[in-house]
Subunit: 172 residues, 2 copies
């Protein structure tokens, strides 16, 4: 390594002056657009949730319980990939605020089946509706208005091993 090869020297503390440019291996437009698109996708819901003192954790719980009423706590933990200690406070707040109810399992009374109340159902619909509206408008802005391609793309972005699980959640 000579002083003429410093561009490859990771120990060199000198500033790199050139901007990082797009090339074959670096698709900045799509990487950055995906980041900003998601930021705004969740921003709508965040605002409404804030009015209830809720965060994204509440949103996810509310969503999946509405999608699969009667879900048990263990199933929810698996979908969300969090621990029951993390879920605890979130679940309690949603129950205390009257958005969810817990019902002892009819077969196995150790289980706590999770259901939305009408209030929880209404909030979930409101949140999903806002997100749907943004997506709908984005697709209508496309030249070809091809919703299927967007679906294919998003599905293909998911880790292959996770795709079956996601399909299982969605096909209900």
């Amino acid at each position: 390594m000579t002083k003429f090869e410093t561009h490859e020297n990771s120990e060199n503390p000198e500033p790199v002056m050139t901007a990082l440019q797009a090339d074959d291996g670096l698709d900045f437009p799509l990487v950055e657009l995906f980041f900003f698109a998601y930021r705004d996708f969740v921003a709508d819901a965040d605002e409404v949730l804030g009015e209830y003192g809720f965060g994204r954790a509440h949103h996810r719980v509310l969503h999946f319980v509405n999608r699969q009423p009667g879900m048990v706590v263990a199933e929810l933990l698996e979908i969300l990939k969090i621990t029951k200690q993390s879920l605890g406070p979130v679940l309690r707040q949603l129950v205390d605020s009257g958005h969810l109810v817990q019902v002892a399992g009819p077969e196995d009374r150790r289980q706590r089946l999770l259901y939305p109340t009408q209030k929880g159902r209404n909030l979930s619909i409101k949140l999903t509706h806002m997100q749907t509206r943004r997506i709908k408008r984005a697709i209508e802005a496309l030249k070809n208005k091809d919703r299927e391609s967007i679906k294919e793309f998003l599905f293909a972005m998911i880790e292959p091993e996770e795709r079956d699980l996601v399909e299982g959640l969605m096909e209900k």
Copy 2:
């Protein structure tokens, strides 16, 4: 309101038994796919960042400084929409670890111009490359392989008032 109209009563604490279904106003497939797609999009980078004891805050700072070397602290704060108190520790860690350097502004010596080192450049390339690979494969999986439609879609998902700012960041 009679007891036969409880389905519209938000005060009713009874569980709602039916699953929330897709309809005109609720596009569950796309809402859920977008959530899972983003989760896995960031997971790749999270793993590498973890090896350095870094989080997503470090990733964002590293990314934008590499995209616009010589950026001043105030510009970075505006892009990230965080406070300088939040940025402080993140910036210090990136400087201490040799990924970024700060240079006094040539005109205005109060300013601290932010530059990546070669080490910081290499890490930024590595992270962007992983995310690009996932996107590239997802587009190749499309029937029509139409990258432009995906770009249009993601751009249209961004809040209209933010689009100029995002375009400004990207066109460099």
